[in-house]
Symmetry: C2
Subunit: 341 residues, 2 copies
DNA sequence: CTTAAATTTTAACGCGCGTAAAGTTTTAGT
DNA sequence: ACTAAAACTTTACGCGCGTTAAAATTTAAG
């Protein structure tokens, strides 16, 4: 196995001219089967691969795709990212994964670095209200971008996410139908714009059902939702802020903290006879199944959100980076009944 | 704001020659302050940035660093990855994050893709026993690599991780000292080599303390540890396999499943009077604080493991990719006492 | 076996930038 | 102000590969 330096050398060793070899690497089917066989045979013997930098420098369009999520330590995003990565690879692209880690300046830096990578397209789940809108706007003007999970009005070529109204309406309706109407438990200054949509949906659904909405806002900032939910729950329980025996958390991570607080206080949660409280939530976090009690929640349609996102991106790329109009695709939730409500 | 095509053009606009501009981008301090000022002034007016592909093609050494973890949906790795990323950026490198998602072929593909990226160095947390040892060996021969978290004997220029013996000895000693000696709860075919070291440590410590080790092996494969721990715990509890009232789980994610099972079965866990069982674990998973009850566990020294890893990598890079001898750095655990044991 | 069609080869240019050599200007030290 | 050192400019080449146009070859069709 001699070391191959470049395509010239490899071409010589394989007995095929360099332009043809180049063509082969661009699309193996674009050369005659016999020459393809000869190249692939040489490929086995010498194990050469084109220099990706030289390739990307000369191609008008790279095969790179950027995937940016706001917080990778959240298994929800890790899970979606996995799906997105695999879809991109399957389509012959090279995905690069980035996490903003909940910080605006990091999101901006990532977008900056991404531009110099000249990606064919980017799948961006922005931080949301923390995002630097103008920076993202500028980025979207230069790079074909699909927004997902968290919508920034008018930005990106398309948005794909979940229908927050569907989430909340299902949980609220379920809880009222089988018990008492829930209070809504959320952060005072939520990091994610989905949170606002969920609160609005809660208020609307409650009013439609003829109940008075009761929103409980707890303090805390950042992405340590469990901690914030835990602290908030302790306060709520202590001060008896709940008007009914049921609570709907804005998201599962808050609910995880809430349930931990209930456990500590000896408050049994669930729909059984001896339970004092019912807790439901939104997202279907990977760990929601293992809370105590297991968490009743409205599940994201992971597969469809991720699938539609890459689909939209590929359309966008094939369309030369522009789509006729900005579409917003929302997928409804699936109510997952477990023990907590 | 005219669009700048290349460095030639930018150099002309800034009134500085291209080679000097090139030098500036390589190291802003390498040019005279006055010319630096002129360049940066032009930079503000025209917003140009060197084509990263052209740069990397010509530099003998890129500024890329690859970070590979076995499973990003595990918040433990997400957390470490965040620290590693930030350290690399602070040192002027461009980190790229990859997750093997628990699959050997993906790990191999990532390593393959990484090679064509000609990184200055790679921080690799391998899958462990699932890893394709020969593939990784080949990779390490071509790319300066530091292994972390999970050791593959002899591979990579150095290894940085946690001292599994320290983890287990602390938890076992604590549990025996304050109660009964624990059984050890683990997967029959653990995905991670740390698991084996932990079992061995358990047996050794137990024997040293004069107790008979009792290892409970549960079935299941893959990385859905919570699910596996949950199922396994139900079986263990049903068949009364525990000989004492205390259990040490191989890792926190198994423990999360175990605690969920206990809750479902109405078995109170903790060290209070009315508790039937004590459960401890290893890792200090980000969610360990929010289990019910909160989980007593041996915590990784995140900061030191991550810090020492990048330190070792930078040494390696500055040393031209070779170190005198392969070192293995192990950091001890810190026992975190919570409510479960 | 002839001929048109399809492929491959040859030759050459360009991409954007690193880098080296030689010459010119600026800076610093006394 | 004078000189050596430092920094800059000019010129030119190379990196590894995409791409193109014309020439040569192979293949498929009749």
């Amino acid at each position: 196995m001699t070391k191959i330096k470049n395509m010239e050398e490899f071409a010589a060793l394989s007995g095929i001219s360099r332009p043809t070899v180049s063509k082969y690497f661009h699309d193996p089917d674009s050369v005659r089967p016999t020459t393809r066989a000869r190249i692939e045979e040489a490929l086995e013997r010498f194990d050469y691969r084109p220099n990706i930098y030289a390739v990307n420098q000369n191609r008008k369009l790279t095969k790179n795709i950027g995937i940016v999520v706001p917080y990778l330590a959240d298994p929800f995003f890790a899970e979606i990212a996995r799906y997105l990565e695999q879809s991109c690879i399957a389509a012959g692209y090279r995905p690069s994964l980035f996490s903003s880690h909940g910080e605006q300046n990091l999101e901006n830096e990532i977008l900056d670095g991404l531009q110099s990578m000249k990606p064919a397209g980017v799948l961006l789940a922005p931080l949301g209200r923390i995002s630097d809108r103008s920076a993202i706007e500028k980025f979207c003007a230069n790079v074909p971008t699909i927004l997902f999970d968290s919508n920034l009005e008018g930005l990106g070529a398309a948005f794909v996410g979940s229908d927050n109204f569907s989430f909340v309406s299902q949980t609220v309706e379920y809880m009222t139908r089988t018990g008492e109407p829930p209070s809504f438990f959320e952060m005072r200054t939520p990091a994610n714009p989905n949170a606002n949509k969920r609160r609005k949906a809660y208020v609307e659904v409650m009013e439609r059902l003829g109940f008075e909405p009761h929103v409980i806002k707890i303090d805390g900032k950042g992405w340590a939702f469990e901690e914030i939910g835990h602290r908030g729950a302790l306060k709520v329980l202590e001060q008896r802020e709940l008007r009914t025996n049921s609570v709907l958390c804005s998201n599962d991570r808050l609910a995880i903290g809430f349930l931990a607080a209930c456990y500590e206080q000896g408050i049994r949660v669930g729909r059984k006879e001896d339970c004092m409280l019912r807790v439901a939530s939104n997202d279907d976090h990977p760990f929601a199944k293992f809370t105590c009690p297991s968490l009743t929640t409205a599940a994201h349609d992971y597969d469809n959100v991720a699938g539609r996102s890459v689909e939209a991106l590929f359309e966008l790329i094939e369309n030369g980076g522009k789509l006729d109009s900005r579409t917003e695709t929302l997928f409804p939730a699936r109510l997952v009944l477990r023990d907590s409500a």
